[in-house]
């Protein structure tokens, strides 16, 4: 029992202890019957936690309690618990009875108590913990984000060994990036091993210090450096609560670098600016200097501090305004360079500076002006020195700068050219060329500056010695327009540093020197001539041969155009018979018909020379009268002068030698003397020949002649084989005699074209058969494949009565021939151009002439189009038998731009071009087509109009032709002639156009044009003028402007025209009236000017007259209409004001009196009452009249006249009665006179009109009176109302009948009475008139028919 008791006690104690535990536990405890799932017990904590009562738990199944509903929803779950015996939920959400969410930790386990399985559930409220945890997580996450994404580098270190070293704990992304490490690689490593430079850097000490003290520290920017990385870092180091050290830092490398760069750049620029020799200056926008570089003192001579903050006033007075305006422009944003001006230094010296500036924009705003100022005093001085030097040079000299502008022009060249330096300075060099050459030819100085090689290529006349160029040349306008030869020397102009800054050219006139040289050359030519002639004399075997040879020498060596020798015929006709000739003769001699008799045909040079025995010269065939009989022929052969030399043998006249030159005045005295001697030599030669004859060693002479002949001399045997040929064949043809001897001409196929061979064969046949064969020309080819023309002369060699062969001479006459052709072409073109055809007609003829004469297959002319943008084909020509269709097609379709193709190139350059082989020429555009039709060579010639090129001529040849210089020159000349022709034609056309234009203006213009002389008499008048004034032109030409001017304008016009004539006014313009022939006055707008001659003398007055009568009329009408309207509207306004006043005044009187009268006693105040009623009555009347008038006014337009028979007397009297009181009140008389007349009309209207007149009369009369009188005159009644009143002002008289007119605006009344009266009386067929004299009175008269018309 005790034991049981004890046990019981123990149990109870234990139970109590447990129960206390159960009841005081801070966790919720739930006991379940494991078998049934019913709740056995629940502790108070859980009850208070979940808010359910003890009862609500007990006996229930767990899932029946709301809080657990969701957790243990079915028995399956519970049985799982039963089975397992243990379940744990870390974080289970429970709902309390009041709906709050609780997070709990739920743990349950099963055990047995007294045979019962019990499930104990421990439920711990973890809500607070959960919230704290959540918050922590969020904070962590946030910090982690901050950590990772911070722009700053963050490194976390943990101290090791009591702060002896630090281990890397964390590294954010920024730090990874900056230090170029990966976090995973370095975490856990020592900072000293990852960043070995950390101690030297100094941060390590900071780490230690912060770890020790816990105070954060800032470690300012410094360079960290180890073998791996270098960079600027600034650090903020702090200690976390956890004891970890955090370094927050940033990489300043880039910033520092930029700073450093900036510093370097700044100091670089500063050094640059400060060490600059030139002054660098900054100016603010107020014009004040804000910076001056140290060279200020050196450049300007001014201390910088004197100028800083000021607007410097240091400019030379002569330059100040120029500089200031330039600098003002700078402040507006204009840049400027090289402004040169003078400044005055503080010590009063003058310095030259060159100033360049540019505005500086910052943020799109002009902030300041930066200037560079250079001291150029020295340069100026040296320039001046240079100028002095150049000025003092004895030769005409000028210089150009690198841009080719003339910078010096000395006195001598001023004298030479006649152009002052101020005219030339600054002009391009082309101007110099233009002056001297007539076109913008580059001057030598420009060529010196041109790219190397250009001079050598284009101007072979120049010689280069080092950097000096010299040249000689012909200048067409050297000395004030006269031509001359010059020697030119050009050298570069150097600056102080040796750079080329221009070129200086000296020109020396060597015309006379050149002339001497020419004379020398001429002498040489003559000497050669004489010597050759002498040889001929020596070698000749007979007279004719000698003469022929002499003629040949004269032409070939002497350069004369033709020479002939003639013999005197002693017969009665005294003929001169040509015996020998050479040169361009072409039938001239046949037509010569010269005699040496003293007749017309004997007075030419030949006849004269033979007759007189002295040389006779025709210096200018064109003008020499003696040459008349032969002039035409001579000129057409191109002879310009001639000389005839007599040949006399032993005193006996036997002939004359005649020489013709293509130049006029070709024979000067020296030449004549030499030629005369030559003639005497010839005479000797002839006599010697005659004397020698058989004795002469003919063989020897012959051989000499043969070997030395300039022509090829060939001996042919009778079969035509070449027996002998002289060495000239080598010179002329390029073959050795041995190559040819033994051959026939027909075998020389590479020498002679087949047709030449045919010709020669035929001629040879004739010659051998003894026929006379004239010299003839064949084509041949040299070994260089050059085509030449060979003149063949020959004669049969007779031996022993038979023909042994022939002697043939072959002369190369290519040059002469082509010269002839060229000359011929030139002459023909000149004559075509002067024929006066139109441009279009001329082209084909010109082209044909050139092509046929000068052997071109195709010719074309290109001319500028209107806009001068391109060249178009004007015309082309080819032989009709030829077919160049493909080429023709291309040519007609193409246009050339400047510089494009051959045509464009010639157009651009103005220089002729010879294309030897088209296929090889890249610039040529039509190559394919040209090749197709077989063109090989071409030449293109500018059609030059002065310096301009108006077009291009191009010629094509099927043969390949090497450049023929003379031909090109001839064509160039022709091109120039054509250019002149085009220019003349275009000038003609524009003249014609302009003439037509002016004539049209004159003839067809609507403006009258009158021309009058200094005496003002008209000289010419155009149709419009005749129409305006109604005169014919011849009638007008007998008049002057005075007669057609309206007299009102006459005096003024005469005065003005005289002033115009005296030049006091430039023109005279007026709108004035004229009087036509029919007397009608018209308005004209005239503009007169004067035409003067070059001396300023007055030639004509030119008057242009426009008829503006209609315009004037319209203007006047318009103006008067406008005035009327304005006046009317003003009147109406006044009327309204007056009317209101008129209505209102009587009304106020009536009302006031009515008010008074109401209160009056009719007995005691009867007098006052009467007075009141009087006033009221009168004003009521006045009101009534006013209203009546307004009514009338409104009705006025539609009032009807109602005619009836009535008597005047009655009407007049009733009017007078009406107005008698008024008259009395003003102390005026009012009477009437008139018979009683029966009238038919509207009595009311008449009464009203008369009333109105009487009323007016009384109104405007203060003294005297008014009289009404009526009479009968004819069929009219005249009613007059006269007063002695103020009268009407004269200027107002026309307005009296106007509506609303009142002379005095303050006068009573509406101003409408008279207007109404007048209108109505007019309707009745009558009228109202008046006379008035200011101050004396007026009389108005109504005039009406006695019987009004219906």
């Amino acid at each position: 029992m005790v034991e049981r008791d004890l046990a019981e006690i123990a149990i109870r104690d234990s139970e109590t202890r447990y129960r206390r535990l159960f009841e005081t536990a801070q966790d919720g405890i739930l006991l379940l019957d494991a078998d049934t799932g019913q709740i056995i017990d629940v502790n108070p904590f859980l009850i208070s936690m979940l808010g359910y009562s003890h009862k609500e738990f007990l006996g229930k199944k767990l899932w029946e309690v709301g809080a657990f509903k969701d957790i243990v929803t079915n028995k399956a779950k519970f049985s799982e618990l039963q089975k397992k015996g243990y379940v744990r939920y870390e974080n289970l959400p429970l709902q309390t009875r009041s709906g709050k969410q609780k997070a709990v930790e739920f743990v349950s386990n099963t055990y047995r108590v007294d045979h019962t399985n019990v499930i104990q559930c421990n439920i711990r409220d973890i809500t607070a913990r959960r919230i704290a945890e959540e918050r922590l997580k969020q904070v962590e996450a946030r910090y982690s984000d901050v950590f990772d994404n911070s722009m700053n580098c963050i490194a976390v270190y943990r101290a090791e060994n009591d702060g002896e070293d630090f281990v890397i704990v964390d590294f954010n992304k920024a730090a990874e990036r900056v230090e170029r490490v990966r976090k995973k690689d370095i975490v856990g490593k020592r900072v000293t091993s990852v960043f070995p430079g950390v101690r030297g850097f100094g941060i390590f000490g900071v780490f230690k210090r912060v770890w020790n003290t816990g105070k954060p520290e800032f470690f300012p920017a410094k360079v960290y450096q180890d073998k791996r990385i270098v960079g600027w870092r600034d650090n903020y180091v702090l200690k976390l609560d956890s004891g970890e050290i955090v370094a927050i830092y940033s990489d300043l490398t880039n910033i520092k670098k930029a700073e450093q760069d900036l510093q370097e750049s700044e100091s670089k620029f500063r050094r640059l600016v400060e060490s600059s020799n030139d002054l660098i200056m900054l100016t603010g926008m107020d014009g004040k200097v804000t910076y001056l570089s140290p060279s200020c003192l050196k450049v300007l001579g001014w201390e910088p501090k004197k100028l800083l903050g000021t607007r410097p006033k240091i400019f030379h007075p002569d330059d100040a305004s120029r500089v200031n305006s330039a600098l003002a422009g700078a402040l507006k944003g204009k840049a400027g360079t090289g402004l040169q001006y003078r400044i005055i230094t503080p010590d009063g010296k003058t310095k030259w500076v060159s100033h360049s500036w540019s505005p500086i924009m910052l943020d799109n705003k002009l902030q300041m002006v930066a200037s560079v100022v250079q001291d150029i005093t020295e340069i100026k001085a040296s320039q001046d020195r240079l100028t002095d030097i150049i000025e003092s040079l004895p030769d005409p000299t000028f210089a150009i700068d690198l841009q080719g502008r003339v910078i010096y022009w000395n006195k001598e060249i001023e004298n030479l050219s006649g152009i002052k330096s101020e005219k030339m300075l600054g002009k391009p060099g082309g101007e110099v060329g233009k002056h001297f050459y007539g076109w913008g030819r580059p001057v030598a100085a420009e060529l010196l500056l041109a790219p190397k090689g250009k001079i050598e290529k284009e101007y072979d006349a120049f010689k280069r010695q080092g950097d000096i160029l010299t040249a000689k040349g012909w200048v067409p306008r050297l000395m004030r327009g006269k031509p001359g030869y010059v020697w030119v020397m050009v050298r570069p102009l150097y600056d102080a540093e040796g750079g080329i800054i221009g070129a200086i050219e000296s020109v020396r006139d060597i015309t006379s020197q050149k002339r001497n040289e020419d004379a020398l050359q001429e002498k040489n030519r003559m000497l050669a001539l004489i010597s050759e002639c002498n040889q001929a004399i020596v070698r000749s075997v007979d007279e004719i041969g000698l003469m022929n040879e002499i003629c040949r020498v004269l032409v070939n060596t002497g350069g004369y155009r033709m020479a002939w020798a003639g013999c005197v015929d002693e017969g009665p006709d005294k003929c001169v018979i040509p015996k020998a000739s050479y040169g361009f003769e072409k039938g001239y001699l046949k037509t010569l018909d010269i005699t040496w008799a003293d007749t017309e045909r004997g007075r030419g040079p030949t006849g004269t020379a033979i007759r007189t025995g002295k040389p006779s010269i025709a210096r200018d065939i064109l003008s020499d009268p003696r040459f008349e009989p032969w002039r035409k022929d001579a000129l057409s052969h191109g002879y310009a002068s001639s000389i005839a030399l007599p040949i006399a043998l032993e005193g006996k006249r036997c002939g004359a030698l005649n020489i013709y030159s293509e130049n006029p005045d070709a024979f000067d005295t020296g030449e004549v003397r030499l030629l005369d001697e030559l003639a005497q030599d010839i005479a000797h030669g002839i006599s010697a020949l005659q004397a020698k004859s058989a004795l002469v060693d003919s063989e020897k002479t012959f051989a000499a002649i043969f070997n030395n002949a300039t022509d090829i001399v060939v001996f042919l045997d009778s079969s035509g084989k070449i027996q002998k040929i002289n060495p000239s064949v080598r010179r002329m043809w390029g073959y050795r005699p041995v190559d040819i001897i033994g051959k026939r001409f027909s075998e020389l196929t590479d020498l002679l074209p087949p047709d030449s061979i045919a010709v020669m064969a035929e001629k040879f046949r004739k010659r051998v058969s003894g026929e006379e064969v004239n010299p003839y020309v064949v084509e041949a080819r040299t070994t260089e494949d050059r085509q030449i023309f060979v003149e063949v002369r020959g004669s049969a060699v007779r031996m022993g009565g038979g023909i042994a062969g022939a002697v043939v001479t072959l002369s190369d006459i290519t040059k002469r021939l082509s010269a002839d052709k060229r000359l011929l072409a030139s002459y023909q073109v000149a004559s075509i151009l002067s024929a006066g055809g139109s441009v279009a007609d001329t082209w084909p003829v010109v082209l044909r002439t050139i092509c046929t004469n000068l052997d071109w297959a195709w010719g074309e002319i290109w001319v500028e189009d209107e806009a001068r943008k391109q060249l178009s084909l004007a015309d082309s020509w080819h032989e009709e038998s030829k077919n160049y269709q493909p080429f023709e097609k291309v040519t007609t379709e193409i246009k050339f731009k400047c510089g494009s193709g051959l045509v464009g190139r010639v157009w651009a350059s103005g220089k002729p071009v010879w294309v030897e082989n088209i296929s090889k020429e890249r610039v040529f555009i039509r190559t394919a087509a040209a090749r197709t039709v077989g063109f090989k060579s071409a030449c293109a010639i500018p059609i030059a109009m002065g310096a301009e090129v108006a077009g291009v001529m191009v010629f094509f040849s099927e043969k390949e032709r090497s450049p023929e210089h003379e031909l090109l020159q001839s064509l160039n000349l022709i091109g120039y002639q054509i250019g002149q022709f085009v220019k003349r034609k275009s000038a003609e056309r524009s003249l014609r156009d302009s003439e037509a234009r002016f004539r049209n203006i004159f003839e067809h213009g609507s403006v009258g044009i009158l021309l009058s002389g200094p005496d003002f008499r008209f000289i010419k008048a155009n149709p419009a003028a005749c129409r305006i004034f109604g005169y014919t032109e011849s009638e007008l030409c007998r008049l002057s402007f005075k007669e057609i001017t309206h007299r009102e304008h006459r005096a003024r016009d005469i005065e003005q025209i005289q002033r115009l004539g005296a030049g006091k006014i430039p023109f005279y313009k007026a709108e004035k009236r004229y009087v036509r022939k029919d007397g009608q006055v018209i308005w004209g707008a005239v503009n007169v000017s004067v035409v003067r001659d070059s001396k300023g003398n007055l030639l004509y007055h030119l008057a242009m007259v426009d008829d503006i009568t209609e315009q004037k009329r319209n203007e006047d009408t318009l103006r008067s209409q406008k005035d009327q309207l304005q006046e009317l509207s003003l009147l109406r306004e006044r009327f309204m004001a007056d009317m209101t006043h008129e209505l209102k005044t009587p009304l106020s009187v009536i009302m006031l009196n009515l008010d008074m009268a109401r209160n009056m006693d009719p007995v005691t105040e009867s007098r006052d009452m009467e007075k009141s009623f009087d006033l009221m009555w009168r004003n009521a009347m006045r009101l009534s009249i006013s209203v009546e008038q307004i009514m009338q006014l409104t009705k006025l337009e539609s009032v009807d006249i109602r005619s009836q028979k009535f008597y005047l007397d009655h009407i007049m009297r009733s009017v007078i009665e009406d107005y008698m009181p008024l008259a009395h009140s003003k102390g005026l008389t009012l009477d009437l006179t008139g018979r009683d007349i029966e009238v038919v009309g509207d009595p009311h209207i008449l009464s009203m009109a008369v009333s109105n007149l009487v009323s007016n009369a009384l109104k405007f009369t203060d003294n005297g009176g008014v009289r009404l009188v009526w009479t009968e005159e004819g069929g009219d009644i005249i009613i007059s109302v006269s007063d002695t009143g103020i009268g009407i002002m004269p200027e107002n008289k026309p307005k009296v009948f106007d509506k609303f007119f009142k002379e005095n605006h303050s006068a009573p009344g509406s101003g409408i009475g008279l207007a109404i009266s007048s209108t109505l009386i007019t309707k009745m067929g009558g009228r109202i008139e008046f006379d008035s004299m200011r101050g004396q009175g007026s009389t108005f008269r109504i005039i009406i028919p006695k019987v009004a018309k219906k």
């Binding site: 209101t1140 006043h1141 005044t1145 106020s1148 009187v1149 006031l1152 009056m1160 006033l1175």
Partner: protein
């Protein structure tokens, strides 16, 4: 007995007002000539002034009074045709001026006089 002067160019109006005022117990006189009125004014206690008169306008009279320093109280007799702006201008130029329209003299004139004279 207060004395009132009327300056008014329309004789009928002037005469009627004079009678009207006398009936009301005032001594009244009128003149058609404003200059004459100005001379007489010193003997009167009140001025009735027409604005629109042919020779000298009411405004000119007012200005003249101002320049001469005449302090006599004034009632302006205004016309209907007077443009509103003119009235406003006058009121600005001469503050305290009393206007009585001519068309309602019978209704407004006596009260205005009484008020002005402080009766």
């Amino acid at each position: 007995m207060k004395k009132i002067l009327i300056i008014e160019d329309e004789p009928d109006v002037a005469r009627s007002i004079k009678m009207y005022l006398e009936k009301a117990g005032y001594t009244a006189a009128y003149t058609l000539d404003p200059m004459e009125g100005l001379e007489k004014l010193k003997d009167f206690d009140l001025l009735l002034l027409d604005l629109i008169m042919p020779k000298i306008s009411g405004r000119a009279v007012l200005r003249e009074m101002k320049s001469r320093g005449i302090k006599t109280p004034i009632i302006v007799l205004s016309a209907i045709s007077l443009p509103a702006t003119v009235g406003e201008e006058l009121a600005r130029e001469f503050p305290g001026l009393i206007f009585v329209p001519k068309t309602s003299l019978h209704a407004q004139l006596l009260p205005a006089i009484k008020k002005t004279l402080g009766e």
